[in-house]
Amino acid sequence: MAKEFKTIKTEIRLPYELAYGATWTRFFEGMENEIIYGTKCSKCGRVLVPARSFCPRCFVDTDEWVETAQEGVLTAWSYVNYKYFGQPIEPPFIGALIRLDGTDVDFLHLIGGFDLSDFDLVRKTVKNGMRVKAAWSNERKGHILDLKYFEPV
């Protein structure tokens, strides 16, 4: 909608190229092979997922790679039903935190695998505490959405 005063439209569009680094490189190789990698902190013993090179709390190197479970518990979610600039996924979708079995932090991903168009139905289906499992895409390319979403077990 045009404003009642004179305006100029402008945008910043600059190409950046970011290094994955060793840890993300291995994590996303895992994604391509239907593996979710975490790393274990030798000091606090927590399994962090996705994998990190260090434990942010203990501030020491993690020293053990772990293939995490593909199942876990839904710990937080929201039903996104609006559009914002740069949004990578068409609404409606469900953003979620998932505590994979045997890990000690929550993994940010999506909940799906059922009809998302009716919100009242969604609210009946999706509950914090429910069991979910990973559903993989057939076309994987080392991206976070190689894992399509987590679906109710």
Binding site: W24, V49, Q87, F93, L108, N128
Partner: protein
């Protein structure tokens, strides 16, 4: 503390969309704050500004553009990205060096020109992992809200009541962007953009050039007979990845504890007379009551229901309307300092609270679901 630092003048512009440009607006507010105490720009000691390139109308590196409009020509000046309450403390520290007798703290954000806040906050994410999921501040807040309600039995109505209170309070605030008498139903039945949050429980994107002029004790006596004193400050940061954090056990209590320690406050509920806090999502005001020590954990809803935090209550919170009424993203923390200062000076006009205000708290937060918090304590 090695010395005393006073706020000697404040200025701000209105939050609603204006046809003025950023460059000129910043000049007007800077001029106003200096003129209020008759301080010549040449005599101004130093400047700390707060802005964020991402909220800066597509102009980067932002501070190069606005230095001269904020009086910076030939000055020792610096800029802080993100939460403007951090900049406030940097200004205090500059005065405490003993080398500057005055410091201008100015926060700049012209939200009306920006894309929606969520397009900006999506850029907080890392491009490898969380950006691919579309995480932004409102999604993180919605996670937090549902957990908060489930854990403590907080109702959607109690969350909505925060918006009713704050948007009602902002009717008395000429600078507020969003204001009005609403019912709980109006708030709850506004568009359900990201369940369980509805549109009216989410702060708007507002304009806000906000200035605070600080002075040393000696200089303050020269400039004003109503100094407001800096008493304490604290901040704390949580982990970056949302899944590493406990969304119901965040960093505000640590930030507050540090500020209370510096200010010598042992019972915040009794010793603080008024609070201006940053609640970009309605339910967060209830959580922050708890973390600030105004009530026990899980009782934020009950505290609101008791009426204590209303404008005429014993501990008014956000008599200005808070951030739900006015959300110049980067400037909102410093705007809380401005509002607290006006209340301490008895100069808050229609939004002046009924009770006497001798100690006030200002709070700012930045990042997803309160990743970082800052708290400042001010006194008359």
């Amino acid at each position: 503390m090695p010395g005393k630092v006073a706020i000697v003048a404040v200025a701000q512009n209105a939050g609603a969309e204006s046809k003025d440009n950023f460059y000129d607006q910043a000049y007007v507010v800077t001029k106003e704050v200096l003129d209020k105490v008759g301080l010549n720009r040449d005599d101004l000691g130093t400047i700390v500004s707060a802005s964020s390139d991402i909220y800066h109308g597509g102009i980067s590196c932002a501070n190069s553009y606005y230095w001269e409009t904020t009086g910076g020509f030939l000055k020792n000046a610096s800029r802080q990205d993100g939460e403007s309450l951090f900049a406030f403390f940097y200004g205090v520290m500059r005065i405490l060096t003993g080398y500057y007798d005055s410091a201008l703290i100015i926060a700049l954000c012209k939200g009306s020109e920006n894309p929606e806040n969520d397009a900006c906050t999506l850029m907080y994410t890392d491009p490898f992992y969380t950006r691919g999921i579309g995480l932004q501040e409102t999604m993180a807040a919605a996670f937090q809200m549902r957990l908060y309600m489930e854990r403590y039995g907080i109702t959607e109505e109690q969350c909505a009541k925060v918006a009713v209170k704050n948007l009602g309070n902002s009717l008395g605030n000429p600078y507020a962007h969003r204001k009005g008498r609403y019912t709980v139903e109006d708030i709850l039945y506004s568009e359900r953009i990201i369940d369980p949050l509805t549109a009216m429980q989410v702060a708007p994107k507002s304009e806000g050039i906000v200035a605070v002029l600080l002075a040393s004790e000696e200089k303050a006596k020269e400039l004003t007979d109503k100094p407001v004193w800096f008493k304490g400050y604290g901040s704390s940061l949580d982990n970056y990845y949302l899944g590493d954090r406990d969304l119901l056990d965040g960093q505000l209590k640590n930030a507050a504890a540090r500020a209370y320690k510096m200010a010598g406050i042992s019972d915040p509920r009794k010793e603080i007379d008024l609070a201006e806090i940053t609640e970009p999502y309605a339910f967060q005001e209830l959580m922050w009551y708890e973390d600030l020590g105004f009530c026990p954990k899980g009782e934020g809803g009950r505290l609101l229901d008791s009426g204590v935090t209303q404008k005429n209550g014993d501990l008014p919170v956000n008599p200005s309307g808070g951030v739900l009424a006015n959300n110049p993203y980067v400037s909102r923390g410093l705007q809380r300092v401005v509002e607290a200062t006006l209340q301490l000076r008895g100069e808050a006009g229609e939004r002046q609270v009924d009770r006497e205000v001798r100690t006030a708290l200002a709070h700012g937060t930045h990042g997803f679901a309160g990743q970082c918090h800052a708290v400042a304590i001010l006194g008359s």
